[in-house]
Amino acid sequence: MATIVPISLSVGANRIIPTVAIPHPLGNPLMTPEEEKKLRRHLVDKALVALETEVTEQTVFKDE
């Protein structure tokens, strides 16, 4: 889970979830705490789905 996807690709990560921003990849200080946790939950849910998905090469899991 990282914001600068090209770095994740260059270092060889196989399942990549793009995140929000460098200083707060899994949060957004502009949101209310409830909204922010919902956002974080959404991203972590995506990470779990990525772990449940067979991949044969480096894969970036984007929002549909």
């Binding site: 889970m1 770095i7 949060g27 922010e36 946790k37």
Partner: protein, 348 residues
């Protein structure tokens, strides 16, 4: 004078046998054995193979340190001026042995060494910094080309002659940077390079970017409801006060922290040690980097089996690739030993 050279080969090239003889102990024979004949011929009288060390590939793999020590002692005993191993072509164990003995002899005795391997031989990647590895074919069909190249590179090292770049000389890049003088300043060279690139012409970088490993993707998790998930981060999240003093940049260590019973990373209890981004947001709420609160919810709901009670953390800020690799290997070992099924790694 004729320089004295000791040669290392495996049981197969010594004509002793194949796999069934791969466990033979190292032995020393006077003069040449097997490919040593071609090596001697390639020296054209300037050097001579005075002894050959033969070792089984499996024996070497099981006794790397002791055998390397034995080889170095033997080379010393024969008062050698140089040392050659192989060619090992694409034979994994033999190639690793060739790289290891050359590196050990170079380190212990300070004399020139050379081997020849197929570039994809794991021994090449492991030992290219410790010796000259001449690029060889993937099988013994490449003997005729590899042996004279090894002989030439060894002789020139012994004689103290300048060794050119990997491209000029046909050896595998050793990661050594050498100062050079140019007529044009860097800015001009950079613009020249850019113009060539725009025109689609070939150009050569003066500073190669590091090449990172590629790993075959792991199979998917089949049963997430019973999986043990661990959290790892390069975002520098640590218990408040950074007890293990992980550096804000160029980290020399990683931390392992127990989060048993921790449901949420609170301000004043957790912080970031990372010096490469604005710490304000992570210090206010470290879950923004290491999502413990959300994973606890998922654990409660049964979406995952459990969250591993330890998390691992370091600072990814100017951190040397070699250190990062070392941390990764050690963290991986510990996670595996703890029966962790999958890892969520967060990065800032």
């Amino acid at each position: 004078m004729t320089y004295r050279v000791v040669h290392y080969i495996n049981q197969f090239f010594a004509g002793i046998g194949g796999e069934e003889k791969a466990d033979i102990k190292p032995e020393v024979r006077e003069g040449v054995v097997g490919p040593g004949m071609a090596l001697n011929a390639a020296f054209k009288g300037e050097a001579e193979v005075v002894a050959t060390i033969i070792c089984g590939d499996n024996y070497f793999a099981d006794n790397i340190d002791a055998t390397s020590e034995f080889v170095a002692e033997t080379v010393k005993k024969y008062k050698a001026d140089g040392f050659v191993a192989g060619p090992g072509f694409n034979a994994g164990r033999y190639g690793t042995a060739c790289g290891a003995v050359c590196t050990a002899v170079g380190e212990k005795l300070g004399i020139p060494t050379v081997t020849a391997l197929y570039p994809e031989n794991p021994g090449a990647e492991m030992y290219k910094k410790g010796t000259y590895v001449v690029v060889a074919a993937d099988s013994a069909r490449g003997m005729g080309k590899a042996v004279p190249a090894m002989a030439s590179l060894l002789l020139r090292q012994i004689k103290g002659e300048a060794i050119g770049t990997p491209e000029e000389e046909g050896y595998i890049e050793r990661g050594i940077r050498i100062n050079m003088f140019y007529e044009k300043i860097g800015a001009e060279r950079a613009v020249d390079m850019l113009i060539k690139k725009l025109k689609g012409e070939p150009f050569k970088t003066e500073y190669k970017m590091p090449v990172f490993d590629r790993v075959t993707p792991r199979p998917a998790i089949k049963d997430m409801a019973h999986a043990k998930i661990a959290l790892v981060t390069s975002g520098g999240i640590v218990p408040f006060g950074n007890p293990d003093h992980i550096a804000a940049s160029s980290a020399q260590n990683f931390g392992e922290y127990d989060i048993t019973g921790v449901m949420d990373l609170k301000e004043g209890e957790y912080q970031t040690a990372h010096g490469g981004y604005d710490q304000t947001y992570a210090n206010q709420d470290a879950d923004r980097v290491l999502p413990v609160d959300v994973i606890r919810d998922l654990e409660k709901e049964g979406r995952i089996g459990s969250l591993h009670h330890l998390f691992y953390t370091t600072v990814g800020n100017g951190t040397a690739v070699a250190n990062a690799k070392k941390f990764g290997v050690e963290i991986g070992k510990r996670l595996k030993a703890a029966g962790v099924d999958a890892v969520v790694l967060t990065s800032t």
